[in-house]
Assembly symmetry: C2
Homo-oligomer: 215 residues x 2
DNA sequence: GCCGCCATCGACCGATCGGCTGATGTGCCT
DNA sequence: AGGCACATCAGCCGATCGGTCGATGGCGGC
């Protein structure tokens, strides 16, 4: 360890100063933790991590400066000693799986109780995986359905529906346009949501463009 | 005119056979009209138009085979004699303006009464512009707000919101993510919808990708 | 023959969205 | 000083969406 005896050294990464201060205060006032520094973005996080050599990095995923996931992946790639504990606001975050795949040791929600946070950091420092219940349940369902973020091809009908969705067409309009019922349109949508690993039409359109299905 | 005296010759373009049959029957049973042929898509429409030289082309905009708008633009570009009367299902169609800009002589809804259709075709044959009331009102509002389909740049905040929308984030989540209220998120959305000329988040994401704002 | 994928439909429900009206404050440009 | 774009917020409302059951039929592979 880089810090004395049982103390766990931390690097806090979040684009919100308020959050950084909150975390810093929380851990500085608790025994057994040392906050080495802070970073506001992915790149800065990598610099600080290299310079400070923390035991655990508390990291938010969503940062304007850029990829929390990318930073985690980089740390993993270079075999960094630090364990990354993702601290995010919502379990609905679409980057949950990518973050874990990238090498995050744990994934917690910001609204977790203080004690849970402390426990989680200690666990992470020892290399044990820590997941908040909500995230854990999402993970199992993701494993149960590996296609959750996979490349399952869309059927012709599904692509047809998706194309109309991208034009701002409502389900009812799509139904009449395609000579099917609204229920069927919704069925196609639910299916293609699953295949694309998204949860609404906006994200479906985005993913479709990313994969070249549209545009 | 290519047909005898007062008869107006027609080309019917629609991807739905049912619709084509319906239109054909309607016009064949009415005096003063001659249906020269049909086409199921944009390209086929261009071929038939060149071969048959109709007075008026009745064209649906939404066709899987591809661009009704593109076909109209092509006809205009080569200075075709035929007048194009767009016959679509919904006035909400996002291609209304592009179609008219491309050179469509008229724009009608399919649920228009028979007589209105006949009148419209005769008017189109004479080169007079025909718009269904709903479309007309949309047009004036579009003129009143030229940015409706323009390239108004998005503000930084709007792009930020849009990026989250593309990830499937709900308004409430966006609000907390950005430390603003849900009302504000909705305001940003309404504004960027207007700037992009769309009416929902899915279409906004699509347009954003088309214009390189996202991805 | 059975199984899986696809397409089709119905019904219900809560959550969310989008439209509307209107308001406040800030900064920038003229 | 006045105008204008931007960002912020409130409340209300109907329309729409997305989820979750379940069900049918066709088609192709095994």
């Amino acid at each position: 360890m880089s810090s004395d005896e049982s103390s766990i050294s931390l690097l806090i990464v979040d684009d919100h100063p308020v959050v950084r201060d909150g975390l810093r205060g929380m851990f500085e006032s608790a025994p057994g933790f040392v906050v080495l520094g802070e970073a506001a973005g992915g790149e800065e996080a990598l610099e600080r991590a290299a310079a400070l050599d923390p035991d655990v990095i508390l990291m938010d995923l969503r940062m304007p400066g850029g990829g929390g996931v990318a930073a985690i992946a980089h740390l993993t790639r270079i075999g960094a000693r630090a364990k990354v504990l993702v601290l995010t606001t919502y379990d609905t975050d679409s980057d949950t799986l990518p973050a874990i795949e990238a090498g995050a040791t744990g994934y917690l929600l910001k609204d977790a109780p203080r004690d849970e946070l402390f426990t989680a950091v200690r666990a992470a420092a020892e290399g044990r995986t820590v997941l908040s219940p909500a995230v854990a349940s999402r993970l199992v369902s993701a494993v149960r359905t590996p296609k959750a973020h996979g490349n399952e091809p869309l059927s012709a009908r599904e692509r047809e529906v998706l194309a109309l969705v991208a034009k701002g067409t409502s389900n009812r309009e799509i139904a009449r346009e395609l000579f099917i019922s609204e229920a069927t349109v919704k069925t196609h949508l639910t299916h293609l949501y699953a295949k694309l690993g998204v949860k609404d039409r906006a994200a479906a359109v985005a993913t479709a463009y990313e994969r070249g299905i549209l545009g």
